[in-house]
Subunit: 88 residues, 2 copies
Amino acid sequence: MSLFSFFQKRNTAPAARERLQILLAHERTNGEHSDLVNLLREEIIQVIARHVKVDGEKVAVKMDKGDQFSTLEVDIELPADLERKKAA
Amino acid sequence: MSLFSFFQKRNTAPAARERLQILLAHERTNGEHSDLVNLLREEIIQVIARHVKVDGEKVAVKMDKGDQFSTLEVDIELPADLERKKAA
């Protein structure tokens, strides 16, 4: 199944809005290093906030931890006019 | 379909290896701002390289641009001992 179809299936938003979705999955071979996804979460959101105006209330973060996988889903609704910031 | 199953289905690697996968999708309402995914790509990989030793040859990057979606897939095979770096 291609990535496009994964996102299109998930997109049930009535009015098409500008959105940015990040999915992060860390597949581990052993129980160690299981906080990598958590570590990356803040910094990835900061990278995005450097390029587009992000409204904290329009950012949904979901984390899951299974035996073998840790996953992070970040779903950001972008402002309609997508105010772009000059790269810092 | 949950995120776990998306990654598990895609994982055909014979021997379980430590892997980090990032999927980024930018859903646009108009043709503008279509380079956001490209802009974020380098910086997100840099964020990861700050936390784990990344072997350039073990990083697969795939970008797709449709009318409404731009997507980025980054697939990183992590070193087995997952040498962790102290955050810079």
